[in-house]
Structure formats: structure tokens, C-alpha cells
């Protein structure tokens, strides 16, 4: 199976879905001739033309709102937000509109929309090119939210999102774009929305997370296995909304010790809900308090290197937390 970059997996998913279905199109700032500021939509305009790879004016509420209209009309838009930090002007369109169209019309209308937005730091982007906006949208029923950590999942989840009849926020991690490469089959496949994935089997402690930090956990797990004989069980949520409750509980039961990790700041993050689900359903199976290792509760990460490093998770921080929990 070919090994490809995470960003290439995203590009391929769009490319294949646009070939497969004439209703699929991409829209966003600079997505056309330039192919996006990260190059994610490169080549799409050349192949599919300006009508299906639309350079949109610099106005995120319109990008979302126009895409919502087109989706209600039966198209399948993929709206790109240049950085997830810049999707907040579209919040009203996403929360008041996209999320509520099916419900408010009693199933008469629906909104098969995908909004792609790069999340995460570590690229010296500072306060407004590094954020994780998950918590803003997580509490809104009617939205689905996915956040892949691997190229395989990126491609399969994006395809599933495009085919989904409801609005899906697709949070791709910009640090993963060129850093993460893995095997991706040539054949068509989807990764089902709503299913978590066990990345590593283990019996000593369970790590639950999503997106980039899982790679730190995987590296740390290898070292802990080799050096300490500690075996971590690692669960990739992949879908944040709806959370895979069953998958979470299974992963917890395996070890009885849970560390939740994400880059988004701790308070009000996805980790809180994961922890609450566990505390509601598996309290008596726990051998240690539920730990969360997340970004600090500050508005965003600074651009200067020591500040950025201090903010972000990395292998060493995750490993230390894992070790501490394993020894608990």
C-alpha cells in the first residue's frame, strides 16, 4: 500500500469525491489558482475548473452561509476555512443554521456540508494561526465533528464527511500535514463517522485523545514499553461528535487507568466530556483518578519558540504523565 502524507490524503479524498460526484465542489479563500495557503486544494481548479474550485471573497460567514445555501439546494460543498482561528466569523451560520436545518424543518430540509479547517500549533503561527476551536462547536447538536490523526483516517473520514447528509466539521491538523505519513489504499474506502479506533493495545493504562498529540503518545508508549515494560492502550477518538461512547468505555475497562490528551485547552475541552462519560458509566472500574493533559488555559500559544514549546504537548510531557499514571 502506498505511504502518503496526511495533506495528500486530504487532497486525494477531495479529488476522488469530485470525480465521483458532480455535486461536490470546494470553496474558500485562495483555494483556486493558489491551491490553498497550505496547498491542500492544489490541482483541483486545473482539473475541475473555476466553478468547482471557487475562490471566495474574504468573508467566512459568507463562505459558510453560501455553502449552506448550496447544500440545501442539493450540492455537496466543501467549504475551507483558511485557519480554524478564522472560522469564528462563521459561528452563527454554523451553529444557528447548518446545525439546525434538519431539526427545524422536521426533516424536510438538510444540509450536506463539509467545513474543513486546519487546527493546532507548532508552526510558529502564534495566537491566531495555532488555535484548536473544538470546544466552541462541540456542544452543538446537529453538527458532526471529526479530527483525524493519520493519513488513512484523514482520507477515509473526509470521504465519509462528504457523503454524509448532515453538516460535518473536518478539523485537520496542520502540523500533521507533512509530518504524518502512513499507508493509504488506492481503492475507495470510508472511515465511518462515530467510530473510535484502537491505535495500540495495552493493559496498563489507557490514553484517549485525537489528532496530533496521539503521535506523542504512540512514541511515548513505545519507549515506556521498551524501557519500563509499561503497555499503554491508545484510543483515537477520530470523531468528536458524536463521541463513540462504547469505544471509550471498552478502552477504559481494558486498563482501569485513563489519561485524556488534547492540544485544546483543558477547561471545557472534549476531554471533559470524555471524563464525564467515564465517571458516569465506569466509576467502579477505575483504579486511578481520570487525568487530563491538555493545553494550558491561556487564550492561545505565543509565537516565540520557548513560549510555544511551553504551551504545546510533546512526547516528553505525555510520557511523564503516562509514567506517573502507570505508577499510580
Amino acid at each position: 500500500m502506498p505511504v502518503i502524507e496526511y495533506i495528500e490524503a486530504i487532497r486525494l479524498a477531495m479529488h476522488e469525491e469530485m470525480e465521483r460526484d458532480g455535486d461536490v465542489f470546494v470553496m474558500g479563500e485562495d483555494v483556486g489558482l493558489k491551491g490553498g495557503v497550505f496547498g491542500t486544494t492544489k490541482g483541483l481548479q486545473q482539473q475541475f475548473g473555476q466553478q468547482r474550485s471557487i475562490d471566495a471573497p474574504l468573508a467566512e460567514s459568507a463562505i459558510a452561509g453560501v455553502a449552506i445555501g448550496a447544500a440545501m439546494a442539493g450540492m455537496k460543498p466543501i467549504a475551507e476555512m483558511q485557519y480554524s482561528d478564522f472560522m469564528f466569523p462563521a459561528t452563527n451560520q454554523i451553529i444557528s443554521e447548518a446545525a439546525k436545518i434538519r431539526y427545524r424543518s422536521n426533516n424536510d430540509w438538510n444540509c450536506p456540508l463539509v467545513i474543513r479547517a486546519p487546527i493546532g500549533g507548532g508552526v510558529f503561527g502564534g495566537l491566531y494561526h495555532s488555535q484548536c476551536p473544538e470546544s466552541v462547536f462541540f456542544g452543538t447538536p446537529g453538527l458532526k465533528i471529526v479530527a483525524p490523526a493519520t493519513a488513512y483516517d484523514a482520507k477515509g473520514l473526509l470521504k465519509a464527511a462528504i457523503r454524509d447528509p448532515d453538516p460535518v466539521l473536518f478539523f485537520e491538523n496542520k502540523k500533521c500535514y507533512r509530518l504524518i505519513m502512513d499507508e493509504v489504499p488506492d481503492e475507495d474506502y470510508v472511515v465511518p463517522i462515530g467510530k473510535s479506533n484502537v491505535m495500540r493495545e495495552g493493559s496498563d493504562l489507557t490514553i484517549i485523545g485525537y489528532s496530533m498529540p496521539l503521535h506523542f503518545a504512540m512514541q511515548a508508549a513505545e519507549e515506556l514499553s521498551r524501557d519500563e515494560g509499561i503497555e499503554a492502550h491508545i484510543l483515537d477518538l477520530r470523531t468528536l461528535q458524536p463521541l463513540d461512547q462504547e469505544g471509550i468505555l471498552e478502552a477504559v475497562v481494558k486498563t482501569g487507568k485513563v489519561l485524556i490528551i488534547h492540544e485544546d485547552n483543558k477547561t471545557g475541552g472534549i476531554g471533559a466530556e470524555v471524563s464525564a462519560i467515564i465517571a458516569e458509566h465506569l466509576l467502579y472500574d477505575l483504579d486511578a483518578p481520570i487525568r487530563r493533559l491538555c493545553g494550558p488555559d491561556v487564550p492561545a500559544m505565543p509565537i516565540n519558540p520557548p513560549g510555544e514549546k511551553h504551551f504545546l504537548l510533546n512526547k516528553d510531557k505525555v510520557k511523564a504523565a503516562m509514567l506517573e499514571l502507570a505508577r499510580y
Binding site: F25, Q51, R52, I54, A56, P57, A59, S61, A62, A64, G65, V66, A67, I68, G69, A70, A71, M72, A73, G74, M75, P77, P89, N92, Q93, S96, E97, K100, I101, R102, Y103, R104, S105, N106, N107, D108, W109, N110, P141, G142, K144, P165, D166
Partner: protein, 339 residues
């Protein structure tokens, strides 16, 4: 205006390409909207429903809009006062009463949303929400879809004067201008946004904003429904011909309180309201038909009694209809299996 020049006036609708039947039908629809609206107010006052929002005096132009469009091809994104508009698109008084009573059979939302929140895929009426102006970019999106598919559909969207100050107005118009999309933006300028007079909302003319997006902006007298018809029809023709969007500002006046929850005399005088009531286009339109030899006292009497029984029946039906069951009221957050 009513007596003199009636021979000339007789021709106005024909000149616009409206048959006698159509112009009569316009009048009937306006009257139906008016009577429905009055019933809504009555029901609220009688404590039968919690809330009513009125479009009285805005109906003539709303109906004119509806008649200027193509019900089979176009997309409609009305706002909450648009009873006249949606009635001209095929929604029935029964549908509207089911919505007022918030009953399951309400085609707009099964009684989930407030009245005035229209939506019916069958009628190509796009589901709307309460946060104002969000529908403007949606209309642009429908127009984009039509253009991409090569369909001769035009999207028409309405909103209030106050609502034109939301960012979504700007963004939705500008996008449509850049891509020359087949969409008509209609501001029903009734000179108030709840308690706030037009001058408190903006110092510009709303129609002038089109200039900044590179397409025509036209102000039209809402008390002249035939002129509204003409302007909308021309805008539609431009749109279909690939000449892009039009912004239309319909000058009208809100004679009722903002809604049944509002006391408008806290911020304006009875005299001001009475003045505008006296300019109501509905009797003027009837006079036009009469002068044109298309309408008589008898026909008026028949119409009124027909409307009354239609509304009475619908009222009774809607009042008796069941609510959506609590179990069903939490359905359709996402597609269900087999959807």
C-alpha cells in the same frame, strides 16, 4: 388618482404582461393574507395562541413579488412577515394556521418553530430561522447552485431594513456580485426595527448599497404593487439572462406593533401610524380593478365570504390538530436510518 386616468390605468397590468385573471388573483391573495393576518392577531388576543407577528400593509408588495417569480423554478427565502409572499407561492392558510397553533401537521416545522418561520421543500420555500439576515448568504448559495447546474432558477430573498445592517447582508451581496449570480435581494423597508426608527439604523439608503457590490439597487414604493411586480420581474429577467443580482428596497411601513409582544405606542404616535394606514395599498388595488372593470361589489362580497369560510375551516382544523408527540419532538437531529 382613482377616478381620473382610469382608462390609462386599465392598461397597466396588461402592459406588464399580467392577464386579467392573474391580476385578480393577486388581489385575492393580498386579501387572503390580510384576513389571515387579522385572524392571527385575534387568536393571540383571545389567548388561543401565544404569539403573532404581522405583515399588514406589506402584503400587496409581497404578493406582487410572488407573482413576478416562477413557482416551478425559483427558490424562495422569505422572512417572518411574508404571509402574502408565501400564500402567493402555494402555501395555504391551513398550513399557516397549523404553524400558528404549532401543530405537527404544520409543513414548515411540525410546530417546532415560531410562526412566520417558513419552509417547504415542495414549494421551494427554504427553511428559515430567527437570527435575522442569515438567509441572505443562503440565497446566494441557492443561486450559486443554480448557476453551477445550469438551471434557470433565481433565488429571491427578503429581509427587513434593520436586518440589512448585519454583516451577512454585506457578505452575501458581495459574494453574489462577484460571481454574478441569479439572486434578488429584497429589503422590505417598513421603517422600523422593533422600536428603532430607520434613521437610528442607518443614515444611508439601503438601495444605494448595491453600488458597492457592482449591481443595480432600486427603491420602489411598496404601496404600488404593480410597480413592485415590474421591478422584481425585470430583476428576474436580468438574473436569468446571466446579468447578476439586483437589490430592491421596497418602501413600506409597519402599521402593527413589531409583534404581539410589543407595545409600539411606547416609541411612536398613533397619528404616525394612522397616517400610514391611510396609505394602505389594498383598497387602492381594489379600486384599480374596479376602475378596470374587473371587479364588482358582488365579487368582493363573494371573496370575503369565501375567505372567511376558508379561514374558519382552517382555524378549526388547526386548533383540533394534534401536537407532535414529545418522543418525535427530539427526532431529526441527524438523518435517521433509511433517510
Amino acid at each position: 388618482m382613482k377616478q381620473a386616468g382610469s382608462v390609462q390605468q386599465k392598461l397597466r397590468h396588461s402592459e406588464l404582461g399580467l392577464s386579467d385573471e392573474r391580476v385578480i388573483s393577486m388581489y385575492k391573495t393580498m386579501m387572503l393574507a390580510r384576513r389571515f393576518d387579522e385572524r392571527g392577531q385575534l387568536l393571540q388576543r383571545a389567548g388561543k395562541v401565544n404569539f403573532h407577528v404581522s405583515g399588514i400593509t406589506q402584503e400587496p408588495s409581497q404578493v406582487a413579488m410572488g407573482f413576478a417569480m416562477d413557482r416551478e423554478k425559483d427558490w424562495f427565502l422569505p422572512y417572518y412577515r411574508d404571509y402574502g409572499f408565501v400564500l402567493s407561492l402555494g402555501m395555504t392558510v391551513r398550513d399557516l394556521l397549523l404553524s400558528i397553533f404549532a401543530k405537527e401537521e404544520d409543513p414548515n416545522s411540525a410546530g417546532r418553530q415560531m410562526p412566520g418561520h417558513f419552509g417547504s421543500k415542495r414549494l421551494r420555500i427554504v427553511t428559515g430561522s430567527s437570527p435575522v439576515t442569515t438567509q441572505v448568504p443562503h440565497a446566494t448559495g441557492f443561486a450559486l447552485a443554480a448557476k453551477m447546474r445550469g438551471e434557470p432558477s433565481v433565488a429571491i430573498v427578503t429581509f427587513g431594513d434593520g436586518s440589512s445592517n448585519q454583516g451577512d447582508f454585506h457578505e452575501g451581496c458581495n459574494f453574489a456580485g462577484v460571481h454574478q449570480l441569479p439572486v434578488i435581494f429584497v429589503c422590505e423597508n417598513n421603517q422600523y426595527a422593533i422600536s428603532m426608527r430607520y434613521e437610528q439604523q442607518t443614515r444611508g439608503r439601503i438601495c444605494d448599497r448595491a453600488l458597492g457590490y457592482g449591481f443595480p439597487g432600486i427603491r420602489v414604493d411598496g404601496n404600488d404593487p404593480l410597480e413592485v411586480y415590474r421591478v422584481v420581474k425585470e430583476a428576474r429577467e436580468r438574473a436569468v439572462a446571466g446579468q447578476g443580482p439586483t437589490l430592491i428596497e421596497i418602501m413600506t411601513y409597519r402599521v402593527t406593533a413589531h409583534s404581539t409582544s410589543d407595545n409600539d405606542l411606547a416609541y411612536r404616535t398613533k397619528e404616525e401610524v394612522e397616517f400610514h394606514k391611510s396609505k394602505d395599498a389594498l383598497p387602492v388595488f381594489r379600486q384599480y380593478l374596479t376602475d378596470a372593470g374587473l371587479w364588482s361589489e358582488e365579487e368582493e362580497a363573494t371573496l370575503q365570504s369565501e375567505i372567511r369560510s376558508t379561514i374558519d375551516e382552517a382555524n378549526e382544523y388547526a386548533e383540533r390538530a394534534p401536537f407532535q408527540s414529545p418522543e418525535d419532538s427530539v427526532r431529526y437531529v441527524y438523518a435517521e436510518e433509511g433517510n
